[in-house]
Symmetry: C2
């Protein structure tokens, strides 16, 4: 036997032990279930796309640190130039390709969700991932898409984060039309709008005085009153529904573009109220600059109230045309993305997500070889009732089996010796409650189901473990 | 605007329209749920592995048509030699790496399932995929693993295919020890056993006479009685539990290795009976040669009774040492794999899987702009009750909305005009049954849930559509 090769993953990927994988999988299931409750349909695309199709813009390649793919055969031929295949770096370009390719088979507005891994050749760094899950929803219209869809997106996101139960959160909005309209009103034309915005985005880092100086200086040359107005605008944050409306009103009259943006935001607020989204979950934040060269209407960011340092955990917005590289059809859309791998990493880091209990509900113990057929039959009856069951296939001391179940996060151990079999009962050890009870074999499945349901109402018994 | 690039996927991948994706996702969910019912724990590994770790055997590379991965940066450097990263070509090598890497954090026997895509640079050909899902279960022991686990695997597989409801199936076994022991008994030594087996494997293709001639000829030189025995052995197929035991008995006495294999098979049969697996679902098939250079004990293949031409839809077996390349620990295991992408393709091809109904249960219609808040509130109440709901956000003619729901495979349309709102009711169109009924708004969610449950007992209304 040769010297073993050190088993290890490449840097920049997240690999989890089973109980953390169960916790991660439950988050994925919650997100998927919520997306489906809002009528979004599943799409999966291949991890590999044709480079020609994926990389429609020259120059973006290096920026996005694309991974190229070559089979053994292609490598041997050592063809010059860009390899034919590349790994997707997000789910938006594949969506554009998918919608353009299948345009005639899809019904519009097309609500789709996609939850897959994407790949970026990021520099190796703690908390930066080269492979990570994105969980995206988008609604794509044909020719037009009502601004009403802008309100559905934050309603989905609010439902997702309520159910993930990772603490209070706020979905914050800004609006490109409001912003551009406001800039117009101050005499800042289209070419300068992005530059001004970039300066405003540095407020936190550089401080107000420095930003003011830049805006007043060469290249911008803005007057004091315009700068005051910009500062005031970008500091607008609302608290609660009425305050959001009041803050919008307080901005005063503006250009037609500004008024269009304001009307859309008011409509979004009204819809969120009709949808019953708690008003603490959404707010205006007119400083949000995210992707303003790409988005054309509302933009969203979501933050955890108690953990602002994590930054936005779910972002997106409205865009005018999804797939101009692939089709002449105009396909406006609105969407949002959760970077789940990064979020999971940060939640673990902040102690907000715990190692899950096992997906196994019951360990059916075995102390006596002769009772194996009985243990197998009991296990199958529990499975038929919908429980997840592991059977101890080789006899061991009961103490060892209980210890194993406890460490593995399995709550129940079903114990049946000669005596229990003779009496038609099962002894059940409940490791969560530290209790033991006896139940007729025929009632075992329903008893465990009742216990399981009851427990869901209780606060979780948190088992802390190291992940890697 | 430049000329659009033709949106298309690379050859050899499967991409589905939403309703086929729903059907596929339901299969994934059924498989996962069943794996979990038998106590298997989830593992996901990165799609990229270090080439050095993935490709431990030289020469296997070309055979397996590995895809290598390079970031833009690595390509520019144009380093000589094999790229650092490669895509996994199965889930077994990543499992070996995972178990070896996390050995001290795992409890053995370790039952794991993994359902992810794998990559092979196959020649482009109908029904051959370069990216495909594998759904694997394995049980890995430390130092030893009881043969009892050999019986649990087919019990899981039987449960999976019962629930997938794609027709009658048979899980067929052979056993490497039985086979090698039988060969030994005929005086065929270890070196020749594989060669003889390869000839026997050609029986279907070449016919009995040709194979007999080869075995009697140069290089083999077997006598008539040995050849007769081989032919008889490889034609053993059982029907039913008692017949399987009888066929094993009828093989007569053999070498110690043979008897070991026979005892293990008898134990597997006894356990399957104790587990309540229907006897029509399993059979001996002593011709199975699959992977006999890798497997060391029981081997499994699964076929659809009505579609033998599809070949094995789920195969696996017992192996002595999973991870000898990565650790000095001995890690014996037993496992099986479902190639789900290929299976789904073949089921579609054979008309055994249909386009699913939508994942959306209800479309909440909208005819009048003023009723939007009501439609949103109704939608949210239905969601709170666990239903998947799409809201019509812009008013359209009712006929159009019904037509849309019908095409999209959405069963219920909830209709509320001024009149219904005034009376506190909702009109519900059931597109599956072609009926309409009226229900109090407060009872809508429970009424729809009852209808949905009832329908699950009925044969599915099959909607046929073209996939691509």
């Amino acid at each position: 036997m040769s010297t073993p090769i050190k088993p290890r993953t490449p840097p920049g990927v997240m690999e989890l032990l089973p109980r953390d994988q169960i916790a991660f999988q439950r988050m994925l299931d919650t997100i998927r279930g919520t997306f489906e409750q809002f009528g979004f349909l599943p799409v999966e695309t291949p991890v590999m796309e044709l480079s020609e199709v994926l990389l429609t813009k020259s120059g973006g390649e290096t920026e996005r640190q694309v991974y190229f793919v070559q089979s053994t055969g292609a490598l041997e031929k050592a063809e010059a130039g860009r390899p034919e295949l590349a790994l997707r770096f997000d789910l938006t370009v594949p969506l554009a390709r998918y919608v353009a390719e299948h345009e005639h088979d899809l019904a519009f507005p097309f609500r789709r969700y996609q939850m897959q891994r994407v790949y970026r050749g990021e520099r190796a760094q703690r908390g930066r991932f080269r492979e990570f899950y994105q969980c995206d929803i988008d609604v794509i219209g044909k020719d037009t898409l009502s601004p009403r869809f802008d309100a559905e997106i934050p309603a989905v996101i609010a439902a997702v984060f309520e159910r993930l139960a990772i603490g209070d959160f706020t979905i914050q909005f800004n609006h490109r039309k409001l912003l551009r309209g406001y800039f117009e009103g101050l005499g800042i034309d289209g070419d300068h709008q992005l530059a001004v915005l970039r300066e405003l985005d540095k407020l936190d880092k550089r401080g107000e005085a420095a930003v003011r100086a830049t805006l007043a200086g060469e290249g911008f040359g803005l007057g004091d009153s315009a700068i005051d107005a910009l500062m005031a605008f970008s500091q607008v944050r609302s608290r609660g529904h009425a305050d959001a409306l009041a803050k919008l009103d307080a901005l005063g009259a503006g250009t037609p573009l500004f008024e269009e943006g304001r009307a859309e935001l008011r409509a979004v607020l009204a819809q969120l109220q009709a949808l019953g989204v708690p008003e603490s979950r959404y707010a205006l934040n007119l400083s949000i600059a995210r992707g303003l060269d790409y988005y054309t209407g509302i933009v969203y960011e979501t933050t955890l109230d108690a953990h602002p340092q994590i930054g936005s955990i779910c972002s997106g917005g409205r865009y005018d045309n999804l797939a101009s590289h692939y089709t002449k059809s105009k396909l406006p859309g609105v969407g949002i993305s959760i970077g789940l791998t990064r979020l999971f990493f940060q939640l673990q880091d902040a102690g907000l997500v715990s190692t899950a209990d096992s997906s196994v509900d019951v360990l059916v113990a075995l102390m006596d070889d002769a009772l194996l057929p009985d243990a197998l039959a009991v296990s199958q009856r529990l499975r038929a009732a919908g429980l997840n069951v592991e059977t101890q296939l080789e006899p061991r001391k009961l103490a060892k089996q209980l210890q194993y179940a406890d460490r593995a996060g399995i709550r129940f151990v079903a114990i049946r010796g000669e005596d229990e079999v003779a009496r038609g009962v099962v002894a059940v050890k409940d490791l969560r409650r530290g209790e033991q009870f006896e139940v007729a074999e025929a009632d075992l499945a329903s008893a465990l189901q009742v216990e399981r349901e009851q427990l869901r109402a209780l606060p979780a018994h948190v088992v802390q473990e190291t992940t890697r």
